[in-house]
C-alpha cells in the first residue's frame, strides 16, 4: 500500500500550533498596548484586565456547558486574542459593564454557539464590537483625549474611578473625553467645514496629518504587524490588500475633491486601520484561505471601510466591513480555488 511514495529530504516542518500562533500575536500587541497607555492613560490596562477576567469565566463556563475539555481549549489562547482585539476597540474610559457585556457576547454568540474555535463564520471580536456600537452608541463614541490635547493625563486611580463609578471630578471631566479625529472630520463636513480646515485647526490633529496619539498607535500596530509577517504568522495578502484598497480609494477621492475627502495618509493612520490590517482581518478562522481569496477579502474590507467612513452613518466602519466580508468568505473561497498542479485552469 505504498500509494504516497516518500521522496528525499529535506522536509519542511511547520512548527506551529494554535497556542504558538496566539502567543506571537499577543507578543506583537505589547508595543501598541504600551503606546496606548502612554497617550491615552491607564484606562486600557484596567479594561484589559476586566476583559481577560470576563473572557476566562465565560470561556470556562461555555466549555463546561458544552461538555468540552476545558484545559486545552482554555490554554490555547484563542479567547485571549478575541479579548485583546476587542479591548483595543472600545473607549478606554468606558464603564466596566461595557467590556464585560462585549466580551461575553463575542465569546458566547460569536464563537461557542457556532461550535467553538474554528467553526465561527464571523470574527468574534468584531461581532462584540458591533454589538456594543449598535447597543450603546453614546458610550462608544466618547474617546479619551491624548494628554497633549487635554493637558491632563488620567492617573490609574482616576481611571479606575471613572470606569467603576462613572464619575470624575467635574473640573477635568469635560476635558478628558471627546470625539475621535475621524469623528471630527465627519461632523466638520456636516457643518460646512472643509477637510483641510478641520485637519489644520482641530486640537486633536497632530501636524495636519491625523490624530495625536492615533498616529503613534497605528504605527505601533504596524511594527507589531511586521513582526507577525516576519515570523510568517500572518500572510502578506491581508495587510497589502486592505491598506492598498483603502489608500487607493482615499487617494482617488482626495485627488477629485481635496476639500471634501481626507487624504490617504489620514485614513491609513486613523481609527483602527492598522489594528484591522494586521490583527483583525488576519484571523485565520474567519478570513478567506486561498491566496487570491485573501487578497480579494482584504481589499473588499478596505473599500467598505472607506465607504462607511466617508458616506456611512458611523465615523469608523471596520467592524461592519469585516463582518460583511466574513459573510462572503465561502463564496470567495469557492471561486478562487488554486489550480491543482498538472490540471488545466
Amino acid at each position: 500500500m505504498n500509494r504516497w511514495p516518500m521522496h528525499g529530504a529535506p522536509f519542511l516542518h511547520a512548527d506551529t500550533s494554535v497556542a504558538k500562533v496566539m502567543m506571537r500575536v499577543q507578543i506583537a500587541s505589547i508595543l501598541p498596548l504600551l503606546v496606548h497607555i502612554y497617550y491615552f492613560g491607564w484606562g486600557i490596562a484596567v479594561q484589559w484586565a476586566l476583559a481577560m477576567l470576563t473572557g476566562l469565566v465565560v470561556e470556562y463556563a461555555m466549555l463546561h456547558l458544552r461538555g468540552r475539555p476545558v484545559k486545552p481549549f482554555l490554554l490555547d489562547g484563542s479567547a485571549v486574542i478575541t479579548v485583546t482585539g476587542l479591548t483595543f476597540c472600545i473607549p478606554p474610559e468606558s464603564p466596566w459593564w461595557l467590556i464585560v457585556l462585549g466580551v461575553s457576547f463575542a465569546l458566547i454568540f460569536g464563537k461557542h454557539l457556532y461550535g467553538g474555535l474554528g467553526f465561527n463564520p464571523f470574527n468574534p471580536a468584531m461581532l462584540g464590537y458591533a454589538f456594543l456600537l449598535v447597543s450603546f452608541p453614546a458610550y462608544m463614541t466618547q474617546w479619551t483625549l491624548p494628554s497633549e490635547v487635554s493637558g491632563h493625563t488620567l492617573s490609574l486611580t482616576e481611571s479606575l474611578l471613572k470606569i467603576f463609578t462613572g464619575k470624575l471630578p467635574d473640573s477635568i471631566m469635560d476635558q478628558v473625553t471627546g470625539a475621535t479625529p475621524l469623528d471630527h472630520v465627519k461632523t466638520g463636513l456636516t457643518q460646512g467645514i472643509s477637510v483641510p480646515d478641520t485637519l489644520h485647526n482641530a486640537r486633536v490633529i497632530w501636524d495636519d496629518i491625523a490624530g495625536h496619539g492615533w498616529i503613534q498607535w497605528n504605527l505601533a500596530f504596524m511594527l507589531g504587524g511586521l513582526y507577525l509577517l516576519w515570523t510568517r504568522t500572518i500572510r502578506w495578502q491581508y495587510p497589502v490588500g486592505f491598506l492598498g484598497a483603502l489608500g487607493l480609494m482615499a487617494a482617488v477621492f482626495h485627488a477629485i475633491n481635496p476639500d471634501h475627502y481626507a487624504p490617504a495618509l489620514f485614513h491609513l493612520l486613523s481609527g483602527g486601520t492598522m489594528l484591522a490590517a494586521f490583527f483583525i482581518i488576519t484571523d485565520p478562522v474567519t478570513a478567506s484561505t486561498t491566496p487570491l481569496g485573501r487578497f480579494i477579502y482584504a481589499a473588499g474590507i478596505g473599500v467598505l471601510v472607506y465607504v462607511i467612513r466617508t458616506w456611512g452613518g458611523y465615523p469608523d466602519g471596520i467592524a461592519f466591513a469585516v463582518l460583511l466580508m466574513n459573510i462572503l468568505v465561502p463564496l470567495i473561497d469557492q471561486y478562487t480555488q488554486p489550480r491543482v498542479k498538472g490540471y488545466r485552469a
Partner: protein, 231 residues
C-alpha cells in the same frame, strides 16, 4: 395509539400539538416575517397574536365547513379568498376599536393573509377534519403562536427598554396607562433591532429543544432502570 381515539383525546392531542409539539413559531418556524418584525414589545406581540388567532379560528372553521365541496385543484385560491375575507374584517375591526395599535402594527395586519401559519393549517388540518376539530386546531395553533409572540416581544422589550407592557393603553384603553412595569433604565438597544429579533427567536427555539431533549432523556431512563432489576 388507539385506532379511534375519543374526541377528548383528540382535543388533547390538538392542544398539545398547537401549544408545544408542533408549535407554529418554535417548531414549524412559520410566519417569521410578522413575528420578527412586530415583536419589539409585548403589547405589539399580543395585538398581532390576537389578530392572527382570530383569523386562524375563523378561516379554519370556514375551510372545514366547505371542505367536501372544494375541488382539489383550486383549493389554494379558495382558501386564500376565505383567509383574505377574515383578515379584512379583523383589519377593519382593529382600525375601529384599537386604532392606535392598528397604526403601530401597520402593514402587518393586512399581511396576516400571507402568514403561512394560516394557509398551512387550512391545508394540513381544516380541509381534512370536522368543524369542531378545526376550530380547536385554530385556537390551539393561534394560542401557541400568540404565546411565542408575547414572550419574544416581552423579552426584547425588557432587554431594550427595561420595561414590560409598555403602551398597554393602546389595547386596553386608558385604565391600562399604569400597567407598564418599569424595571430598570436604559438597556441593550440591539434587542429592539432586527438582529435582536433573530437572536431572541433562536434562543427561544434552543430553549424549547433543550426542554424537549431533557424530557426525552428522562423518559428513556425509566425503562433502562427497570431493565436492570431482576425479572
Amino acid at each position: 395509539m388507539e385506532l379511534n381515539p375519543s374526541p377528548l383525546q383528540q382535543a388533547r392531542e390538538i392542544f398539545y400539538d398547537g401549544l408545544w409539539h408542533n408549535n407554529q413559531a418554535l417548531v414549524a418556524l412559520l410566519g417569521l416575517c410578522p413575528m420578527l418584525a412586530v415583536t419589539n414589545n409585548a403589547i405589539n406581540g399580543l395585538g398581532l397574536g390576537v389578530a392572527t388567532l382570530i383569523v386562524l379560528v375563523v378561516s379554519n372553521v370556514l375551510v372545514s365547513l366547505i371542505r367536501d365541496y372544494v375541488p382539489r385543484e383550486v383549493r389554494i385560491p379558495i382558501f386564500i379568498g376565505i383567509i383574505a375575507t377574515a383578515v379584512t374584517i379583523i383589519d377593519m375591526l382593529m382600525a375601529a376599536y384599537v386604532h392606535e395599535l392598528h397604526k403601530l402594527l401597520g402593514i402587518f395586519v393586512p399581511l396576516i393573509v400571507t402568514n403561512c401559519v394560516i394557509l398551512g393549517r387550512a391545508e394540513a388540518f381544516a380541509s381534512k377534519n370536522p368543524v369542531w376539530a378545526s376550530a380547536l386546531d385554530g385556537l390551539a395553533m393561534g394560542l401557541g403562536f400568540l404565546i411565542v409572540l408575547v414572550v419574544l416581544g416581552g423579552l426584547r422589550e425588557l432587554l431594550a427598554q427595561g420595561t414590560l407592557f409598555d403602551q398597554a393603553f393602546l389595547m386596553f384603553g386608558q385604565q391600562a396607562r399604569d400597567w407598564t412595569l418599569h424595571l430598570f433604565d436604559g438597556g441593550i438597544l440591539l434587542a429592539a433591532l432586527p438582529p435582536g429579533a433573530f437572536i431572541g427567536l433562536g434562543l427561544l427555539v434552543a430553549g424549547k429543544n433543550w426542554l424537549e431533549l431533557r424530557r426525552q432523556s428522562r423518559l428513556q431512563r425509566i425503562p433502562v432502570e427497570t431493565a436492570h432489576e431482576p425479572a
